[in-house]
């Protein structure tokens, strides 16, 4: 069985509209972020308090909200998990008085005391997260470093294994995926938590992974299609790997969808980020990575693209690998 019988779509022709669409999505996300003062940070990064309580009888959101209304600061209340679990998440952002480490637990103590005095059914605290400003700032810094370092390391790897313009194409596609994912997190009101950053780092791996499969094929085809223009070679390669791209993206998407549906509230942000990243990663492999690799190759050799494409691999090591394959 085959999804596509000898597919021959002209993906490269769509590169400009595709770029425009991507830029539009990213810009929309950026504008929304700018107007709302940046992506909302979870307490992992901003510092603050989260208390999840489980009541032994039903309570309404209003009851919970009213009982914690007296706690100083902007208290957030939301249902956690399925309604029949009777679990509620109460969130308190970092306040200035929390700067002193000793009073860090004040927020959670106030919340728990307020709930106890409100005459609600009895409850137990099933989860308590208190993050001080020091740790939050530290995690922010490390999250940014880790993302940048992984991008640099992957760029270097591709530059060594392929050629520089491909590395730029792959990394541009990865940035594209990160920005599109951030935009969608913004659209759907998710906040940046540790798990979401982990998902974004995974997306960088996944996105590059997808791109490498196409580029590997381009490298191989550059040897057999010496007379064709680079655009043609890339387009053929994208088409040849299309079945794999779609099947892999599809299966991974459905596997992560299972995580999104059944993995519980703790992993929902993670799963959502992965879902967006998988779709965006697939799209960017087909439209963005190849397009940028072509555009960059042309700019550097404007007159002789076909000739240049005919002799791209000059290092003996690569030839040897090609020979091994046939």
């Amino acid at each position: 069985m085959q999804i596509f019988k000898n597919p021959n779509f002209n993906f490269i022709r769509w590169r400009w509209p595709a770029l425009a669409l991507s830029i539009a999505v990213i810009l929309a996300g950026a504008v929304l972020m700018a107007t709302q003062g940046g992506l909302p940070l979870g307490i992992d990064f901003s510092g603050g308090t989260i208390v999840v309580v489980k009541f032994d009888q039903d309570v309404t959101e209003d009851q919970v909200r009213q009982s914690v209304a007296g706690v100083s600061g902007e208290v957030g209340v939301q249902q956690f998990g399925a309604p029949e679990d009777r679990e509620w998440l109460i969130r308190l952002p970092q306040t200035l008085s929390d700067e002193q480490g000793a009073s860090l637990e004040q927020g959670s103590q106030q919340i728990e005391a307020a709930l106890r005095q409100a005459g609600l059914p009895s409850f137990e605290v099933i989860n308590r997260e208190i993050v001080g400003p020091v740790i939050g700032a530290d995690l922010q810094r490390r999250g940014i470093y880790a993302t940048l370092a992984s991008l640099v390391a992957i760029t270097l790897y591709i530059a060594v294994r392929f050629r520089f313009s491909f590395a730029v194409g792959a990394i541009a596609a990865t940035f594209h995926d990160i920005f599109v994912t951030l935009a969608f997190l913004m659209f759907f009101g998710y906040e940046l938590s540790l798990n979401v950053v982990a998902a974004i780092l995974t997306i960088t791996g996944y996105s590059v992974n997808d791109t490498i499969v196409v580029f590997d094929r381009v490298r191989e085809n550059l040897r057999s299609m010496r007379r064709d223009a680079l655009e043609q070679v890339v387009n053929t390669s994208v088409n040849q790997t299309l079945a794999r791209t779609v099947i892999t993206a599809g299966t991974t998407f459905f596997a992560v969808l299972a995580l999104y549906l059944f993995g519980g509230d703790v992993l929902r942000g993670f799963a959502f980020t992965m879902l967006v990243g998988i779709v965006s990663g697939t799209y960017s492999t087909v439209f963005i990575a190849s397009a940028i690799a072509i555009i960059l190759s042309q700019r550097r050799r404007p007159s002789a693209a076909p000739v240049a494409a005919a002799r791209p691999e000059t290092r003996p090591g690569r030839k040897a690998r090609g020979a091994r394959a046939s």
Partner: protein, 519 residues
């Protein structure tokens, strides 16, 4: 060829058996993270500045005594920061320098005359900070062990002065935190004057000029109440230097006082007992202040010479008496602690998370398996086998390495399934393509695996780079995710290429003239 295949088959079988042996039974062999089994995760900072301030204050005290002995006149001698003090209005520079030689080993003196600023040498201050943190680590470790927590973690955290404490299964967080946090600095001092109803009253008793070797210490409200007065904070004047401290303790345990109320009994080591004997003999009829973390807990009148046994009374509950003896036994913290982060997961939420993680993993695997069988027919079994073997190796390696399974770790499982499918799809699609070129089934299979090999290497290395940095970035749960992903990626290269290829070749060797392939 057949012999070669047999070896390959045996290798695969051995790997499977080893893996299953490593993780069976999974409930015992696979470590669960705090987010799955419940417990407390704390990050604390040692206030190393406080330890430095103590050093600076001691130096200043000694310098003051030395200057007084040598008869050197000065106007002011004052600690200005944890690592700095100033001396002003010195009459004779030469005499001062001679008398202050001792301070020079730890502090560097500013140039000039008549007025000096002393700054602690960086080597010394770094060493002191380091010592404070490692002492705190050891003390906390002792306390946690005494709490009876199974498999606790007490370790340094990223920054030099931060300590990570993980207590699996602990649900009474408030108590655990109190025990870890309490400085537990015990001092026994003779009361010079007091009690006074207020700090001002204490100072007025000395005409507002308390000698530098004495200090005013607040007492707990209970001290006054137990003396028949109304509960209010009272103040005592005691000597600054404590003759007996917590370091002289041999043991501490909960006991009962004469009214059968919970108290803490302690015994002193030999050296401490000798000094305590001398002290109490000289001070019969005076009050002994038992000071815990700079508060007088009780101030009994010394009736007779006491050597090695003593009792701390106060209005303790049984639990408090128990906890106090625990922290006294484990020694004082070198400096107070700040809490920076606390994450508590109740056992019910942990169990819920395990259920959710397993459901999601099984759901994801089922979806993928159905698709592969539907789309690739017989070759789908091949993919299924390599994915299942991959998951077995993953579990086995995690158990073997003692890696921790966390909730995000389940996501790592699912992504490993995804990567496994990807490699299989990559190979199968290539074989299909090669089948189209009519070179025969065997050639197509060989070409499919060979051509895709470097693609698989490249994709796995790229993903591995991301996962390794994630390992470096993350805390507990995220590290679990990264570990799972890294092991999964490594074993996937083995299963998707070696295992899957062996299965194909077994199929091909059975029927030499295979014309079609169910793929």
């Amino acid at each position: 060829m057949n012999k070669n295949l047999r070896w390959r088959g045996l290798t695969i079988l051995a790997v499977i058996v080893l893996s299953v042996w490593a993780f069976y039974p999974p409930a015992e062999k696979v470590n669960l993270g705090l987010d799955l089994k419940g417990g407390v995760h704390l990050i604390m900072r040692v206030q190393t500045d406080a330890a430095l301030r103590i050093e600076t204050e001691t130096t200043v005290e000694r310098l003051g005594e030395g200057l007084a002995r040598a008869g050197v006149q000065y106007a002011k001698l004052e600690v200005t920061s944890p690592t700095e003090f100033v001396v002003e209005g010195i009459q004779s520079d030469q005499a001062f320098r001679q008398a202050s030689i001792e301070a020079d080993t730890i502090f560097s003196r500013s140039p000039g005359a008549g007025r000096y600023t002393y700054t602690m040498r960086p080597i010394i201050s770094n060493q002191l900070r380091e010592e404070a943190v490692s002492q705190a680590l050891q003390t906390i470790e002792r306390r946690v062990n005494e709490l009876g927590v199974v498999e606790p973690i007490v370790a340094r955290y990223t920054q030099a002065d931060q300590i990570l404490v993980q207590l699996p299964g602990v649900t009474d967080v408030v108590r655990a935190k109190e025990i870890i946090r309490s400085t537990a600095l015990l001092e026994l001092k003779i009361v010079e004057m007091g009690p006074f109803p207020s700090q001002e009253a204490a100072q007025q008793a000395y005409n507002n000029n308390v000698p530098p070797d004495l200090e005013v210490v607040p007492g707990s409200e209970d001290v006054a109440a137990s003396g028949g007065g109304t509960p209010a904070t009272v103040y005592y004047v005691v000597r600054r230097v404590a003759p007996i401290t917590g370091r002289d303790l041999r043991n501490a345990r909960p006991s009962l006082d004469e009214n059968s109320l919970p108290a803490v009994g302690f015994s002193l080591n030999q050296d401490g007992a000798r000094r305590f004997g001398q002290l109490t003999e000289q001070s019969i009829g005076r009050q002994l202040a038992i000071i815990l973390d700079s508060r007088v807990v009780s101030a009994p009148v010394i009736q007779s010479r006491i050597t090695d046994e003593g009792q701390i009374t106060g209005s303790f509950t049984q639990q408090e008496a128990q906890d106090l003896s625990l922290v006294l036994r484990s020694g004082a913290l070198p400096a107070p602690m700040d809490f920076l982060e606390e994450r508590t997961v109740g056992p019910s939420l942990g169990a819920e998370s395990i259920r959710a993680g397993v459901t999601a993993s099984v759901g994801g695997l089922t979806l993928v398996v159905f698709f592969m069988l539907f789309y690739y027919r017989l070759a789908g079994f091949n993919a299924l086998t390599s994915i299942v073997v991959n998951l077995m190796i993953l579990l086995g390696m995690m158990a073997y390495l003692g890696a921790t399974m966390t909730l995000p770790g389940f996501a790592g499982f699912i992504l490993t399934i995804g990567m496994g499918v990807d490699s299989n799809v990559l190979i199968f699609e290539r074989i299909k393509e090669e089948l189209g070129t009519a070179k025969g089934v065997r050639a197509a299979v060989n070409a499919g695996f060979d051509r895709v090999w470097w693609t698989i290497v490249d994709t796995h290395v790229a993903s591995l780079i991301g996962a390794l940095l994630l390992l470096n970035f993350g805390t507990g749960p995220i590290r679990g995710f990264a570990t799972t992903l890294i092991i999964g990626l490594a074993s996937n290269v083995f299963t998707a290429v070696f295992v899957s290829r062996t299965i194909f070749e077994v199929l091909l060797s059975r029927r030499a003239q295979l014309q079609t392939l169910s793929i």
